[in-house]
Amino acid sequence: MASRPIVQQEARVIYFYDPLRIFGAKLLGNAPAPATAENNKKQACANVAGSPTVANGGVVVAKRMAPKPDQKKVVLKPKPKKVIDIKASPNKKEVLKDKKKEGDSNFKKKSHHTLTLVFTTRSKATWGITNKLKERIIDIDSDDVDDELVVVECIDDIYKAILFDWLILVHTKFNLLLETLYLTINIVDRFLAVKNVPKRELQLIDISALLMATKYEEIYPPQVFGNFVCLSDRAYTHEQILVMEKIILAKLEWTLTMPIPLVFLLRFIKASVPDQELENMAHFLSELGMMHYATIKYFPSMVAASAVFAARCALNKAPLWNETLKLHSGYSQEQLMDCARLLVSFHSTVANREEKVVYLKYSDPEKGVVAMLPPAKNLLPEGSNSQ
């Protein structure tokens, strides 16, 4: 019986070096600014991976929320407790000295980086500015650590797409089952729906969720010590990954046996009497759906059925939906329209996104280059750009 081949650690680290460091960087600031030179890019990645992502005090909490249409992101600003007019002060050092005497902990010398400093350092490193700041930076977030309204942010589609891109890379690298990919996303989505987490822990959650999904689905799960620690570019320890595993399990009450779109997708593809192209297209659209929070409002079975329907539309299969598919999926063509349109809209924009590993995956000849085929025009709103 063949066991999973052992990959040399060096090869593994080299393979993940760029995607992982960029993943860490992206989670902190949605996307790195364009670098002026190749070595600046490397430096930026190294800085971000090497430095602590968020200050011990300044916790930015991330909560997963499904986006509401036409809703602008609301930034809640903290109520100012006491305004210090720095310009009016004759001597900044004196103000700081006085504050120290009063015992205001905000003005003690920080041994850690603040969130602002991390972002600043990252962008400066990216642009090649290396001269150190001469003045001490005041931590403007430390008073608001316990104020949830101030620190809550939305984990939006960008974060989800970054996570998904990274997951597909890992998934391909370890040659994992598709079930593992879907279950990982399911675990992360459900955990973030019930728990506010600091942004610095997002990747840790992803890794622990992947660990759980591999244990649940795989015959030979990759090992924690050899593989999962390397996945984070050693940003998290062996122990942190396993502690987070227990936290997630407790929060989800150990419920991992869940309906995922894939279970339905395989069934509906079979009912569609598919050729390889249709199968690949349905998988592509289903995985695109997983990248976006907009699909969360639909049942997994509906996402799967819509992926098959949209795939049939894209490939001009006649009829687009038939009695067999209606019987086995439980959905009529009309019921699938909204969700199918959503998947097709993702297809029409995916090539222009920064996070497009799923697009590249299905642009491979092995996958029939289905990502490069035009999306289902009959499901696109008039006047919208297809690729």
Binding site: M1, L177, E179, E201, L204, L211, M212, K215, Y216, I219, P221, Q223, V224, F225, E239, Q240, I241, L242, V243, M244, E245, K246, I247, L249, A250, E253, W254, T255, L256, T257, L262, V263, L266, R267, K270
Partner: protein
């Protein structure tokens, strides 16, 4: 990062008083215990979490997750709680809190063997119906048990209630069935497709086990007591005949297929002489070589063998 487990929740040590050790599994011991708050007797399944290694074992992860879904069925053992504690070395230990059942089918059969009595036919029928019902419930929820054997079937000897337990090897399956490990299931109850190295298998592996248990209930002896994979196959072939492409299309393409001694099929009544005609018919449908031809648990419940059984309280 927060600590796992709520602050106000009692630990296993605080909540339960261990009474005696009743068994031992792959990942730890099983205790009979008393819940201090209610005085209720429970079974505590202790699982070591290898923090220094791989964390929660896959078997525990699957078992708890699957039981969270299946525990509401009367023929699946009820998982009441999951508690966390620490052992003497300070290592994390997980306690699965189950309803306590007095005995299991293995002990039940042994007690009849030791006294030289036969299990009453209506008792066999009732137990088999409950087993089929429990297996049908698991399969209906997309779960393969993969380790059905008398030891994993808990019983209340007073009410003759039977419950499926130990879902450590169970797993959810998808349609079409994907590759699974073929290193599952105790040898005596292992289906021939698994013994021959099939990695794509389905609900039929559980039905084979049910058939073996059925015969064992009647004869009080294991039907195919092999002590190695090869011996196990030979036991099966001696009774059911050596399979070929006619009776089981695709058998010769399985990974572990070799040229085996050629035996002709025997009548099942030679192995299970005291079983009536309807029982033999059901058993033969459970022990079909070709997995797709094996009866399903749901269909087995509708078999004429169970027609004279009062099913109201089962």
């Amino acid at each position: 990062m927060e600590k796992p487990g709520g602050g106000g929740v009692l630990s296993a040590k605080e909540a339960f008083e261990k009474l005696e050790k009743v068994g031992e599994g792959t990942y730890g011991k099983v205790y009979r215990a008393r819940e201090k708050a209610t005085g209720k007797i429970v079974a505590l399944k202790k699982t070591r979490l290898h923090e220094d290694e791989e964390g929660v074992p896959p078997t525990t992860l699957r078992e708890v997750s699957i039981l969270r879904m299946l525990s509401r069925d009367p023929h699946v053992v009820r998982l009441m709680d999951v508690k966390q504690g620490q052992n003497k070395e300070g290592k994390t230990v997980l306690y699965l809190v189950f309803e306590y059942m007095d005995t299991d089918l293995k002990k039940f059969i042994r007690s009849f063997r030791q006294t030289g009595q036969t299990v009453p036919p209506q008792t066999i029928k009732s137990l088999m119906y409950q087993l089929c019902k429990g297996v049908a419930f698991c399969h209906g929820h997309g779960i393969l048990h993969r380790d059905l054997k008398p030891h994993n079937l808990l019983m209340d000897p007073k009410t003759m209630m039977l419950k499926i337990a130990d879902l450590g090897l169970a797993r959810a399956f998808t349609v079409p069935i994907k590759k699974y490990t073929h290193e599952i299931l105790t040898l005596w109850y292992r289906a021939p497709e698994v013994l021959l190295g099939a990695t794509h298998y389905s609900m039929a592996v559980d039905i084979w086990s049910v058939g073996c248990i059925f015969a064992e209930l009647v004869t009080k002896q294991a039907l195919f007591p092999g002590d190695s994979e090869l011996q196990q196959l030979l036991h099966i072939f001696r009774l059911l005949g050596t399979p070929n492409e006619d009776v089981w299309p695709g058998v010769s393409k399985l990974m572990n297929w070799h040229e085996y001694p050629q035996w002709n099929p025997q009548s099942l009544s030679t192995a299970v002489p005291s079983l009536d005609e309807l029982g033999l018919d059901l058993l033969s449908q459970m022990l079909k070589y070709e997995p797709s031809k094996r009866i399903s648990a749901k269909k087995a419940m509708e078999h004429a063998y169970f027609d004279d059984l009062d099913k109201r309280h089962l």
